[in-house]
Amino acid sequence: MNIVVCIKQVPYPKDVKLDPKTHTLIREGVESIINPFDMYAIEEGLRLKERYGGKVTVLTMGPPQAEEALREALSYGVDDAILLSDKAFAGADTLATSYTLAMGIRKIGDVDIILCGKQTIDSDTAQVGPGLAIRLNIPYVTYVRKIVHLNSKKIRVERIMDDGYETIDLNLPALFTVVKEINEPRVPSLRHKLRASKTRIPIYSAKDIGADIKRLGLNGSATRVINVFKPQRKRKLEWIEGSVEEQVEKLLDRLRTHKIIG
């Protein structure tokens, strides 16, 4: 089983600041962590490997400092790490990010399972997983809470929903984005930490992955962040008074006038 886990390095939530001019996150000099949901993806990758054999590779697109996130992933026991880093990747939105990751995965070659977090905590779009699957032309399931079983061709997963869960069978290769209910991540191990500190992590550029420069970074992004602002709260508070019956009548009235009930 060849498993790839996509992880993103994100700023530690307590330290987040926005650049007032560019409206982007200030990432320099801020303590970084692996996106918390990606920790569950790493753990699931390791568990699949322990159950079914194979190899787990972590992949990230990011600045050179994202290497730290990869080293941390290695300390949990993943086998390999690859960093996609190039000035041309900068400013990528979900479109450009998923294209770049797809090209990186093509370069890795035969992959059976791709795991992503359900979303990041710094941008929250939850689009990269599905976008990546589409570009690789493989099936995907989001919000996976359990991988029930798998053989070399087929896999059964459970997908969390608001009011229960779905059981889905699909063919491999496939991509899954996982929720935190899926497992409890382990602690790192000393042996793997020692190995991680000595591992040379390959860095792939746009050229290395054979990417089309027009589809990368800001160039390849369909979105531009124009402004970031705090929404103004426009809330009105009204006390409904009277006996219980009167209150109910008045409330129903209000709900009807605002067309909340028919």
Binding site: R186, V187, S189, L190, R191, L194, S197
Partner: protein, 386 residues
């Protein structure tokens, strides 16, 4: 203070701290309150490879020494010495095998302890033999290809939970101090069972239990080294384990200092944070200084042990005694700085103070440590006069 640790030593420290903060901290009060054995945490420590720190690589460990072990113990102890005692007692069970075991015994038992798959324990104390270990009554009699053990050991840390026990028993009463031997007993051996589980003042998540040998038959290959070595083995084991008790004390005291300083900066009386009162500052200053002194002594003793000297009894007794007396004082002062809140179970200070007391008692009381140091001095100066 910067001890100029190597990259690997820093890694051990960081990892132990991460496990302590992420896993132990959220549950320590509950474990204490409910007196539950921390199996989940033992699995985390095993996953982190922390059980293998001072076991050689050829037996599945990481090949570190007493010093590296102390670094891990100290970080874990900052958060809970109940859990850390459980962890360290497994190592205590492994030491007799590590130091004196046959190649077969090492191959069989050390990898299991190093991986944390099975816990170890060490059993010498009995109801009527504490400091006076020479008066133990448990016997081991040869019988064909077996030894048959009879007797009851008391207050055995990890009793009932551990699977590998090193046990000191009398093989020839007539030979006095040369009449005891060390054996490996496994959970599940016929005639081996567990008695009363103690209710304790502190380190309540650790298991302290009677272990009972009733016609307990074990194969002859479970004897460690040879008959008559029991007390020598026990003493040598304590010589390398006692810096670890010092590390428990340093970690515990550091945790208490962290708490006391943080609290003193926040608590306002007479319109000022109490840390602005010189009386409080002086207490904190003494606490911090004594911790640093104990740490220096523990690290020095541990490194001395790692240099494999002929005799480390004095140095390791000093590290154990000085640090545990220090931790008792520092945790008591931490409660004082927190005032009434310190006495309440809402804060960890009272637990730290309850926990600290054991460090002055187990692995030889601090009176016994002073005896060891005194006797060593007596020997040293005799030698020099010649």
């Amino acid at each position: 203070m910067d001890y100029f640790l190597t990259e690997e030593q820093i890694m051990i420290k960081d990892l132990a701290r991460q496990v302590a903060e992420e896993r132990i901290l959220p549950v320590r009060a509950k474990l204490d309150e409910e007196e539950t054995f921390p199996w989940e945490l033992m699995k985390d420590l095993a996953q982190a490879d922390l059980f293998g720190i001072c076991i050689p690589e050829e037996y599945g460990g990481l090949g570190g020494g007493c010093f590296e072990y102390c670094l891990a113990i100290e970080e874990l102890a900052r958060v809970c010495i109940g859990v850390t005692t459980t962890y360290a007692a497994s190592g205590l069970g492994a030491y007799p095998i590590l130091l004196f075991g046959s190649e077969e015994q090492k191959q069989k038992y050390l990898p299991e302890i190093a991986s944390g798959k099975r816990l170890g324990a060490f059993a010498i104390t009995e109801a009527n033999a504490g400091s006076d270990a020479g008066s133990i009554l448990t016997t081991a009699a040869p019988d064909g290809d077996h030894y048959v053990l009879n007797g009851t050991k008391q207050w055995i840390t990890n009793g009932g939970e551990a699977e590998i026990y090193t046990v000191i028993a009398i093989t020839d009463r007539k030979k006095g101090a040369r009449g005891a031997s060390a054996f490996i007993v496994e959970k599940g051996d016929p005639g081996f069972s567990f008695g009363k589980k103690e209710k304790k003042m502190g380190i309540r998540s650790s298991a302290t239990r009677e272990v009972i040998f009733d016609e307990c038959r074990i194969p002859k290959e479970r004897l460690i080294r040879r008959e008559g070595m029991g007390f020598v083995i026990a003493m040598k084991v304590f010589d390398i384990s006692r810096p670890g008790i010092g590390a428990l004390a340093v970690g515990l005291a550091q945790g208490a200092l962290d708490l006391a300083v943080t609290y003193a900066k926040e608590r306002v009386q007479f319109g000022k944070p109490i840390i602005s009162f010189q009386a409080i500052q002086h207490m904190l200053a003494d606490m911090a200084t004594n911790i640093e002194a104990a740490r220096a002594l523990v690290y020095a003793a541990a490194k001395f042990v790692d240099s494999k000297p002929k005799d480390a009894s004095k140095e390791s007794a000093m590290a154990k005694m000085f640090s545990s007396d220090m931790a008792m004082k520092v945790t008591t002062d931490a409660v004082q700085i927190l005032g009434g809140y310190g006495y309440m179970r809402d804060y960890p200070a009272e637990k730290m103070m309850r926990d600290a007391k054991i460090l002055q008692i187990y692995e030889g009381t601090n009176q016994i440590q002073r005896n060891i140091i005194g006797q060593a001095l007596n020997r040293e100066y005799k030698v020099r006069r010649k």
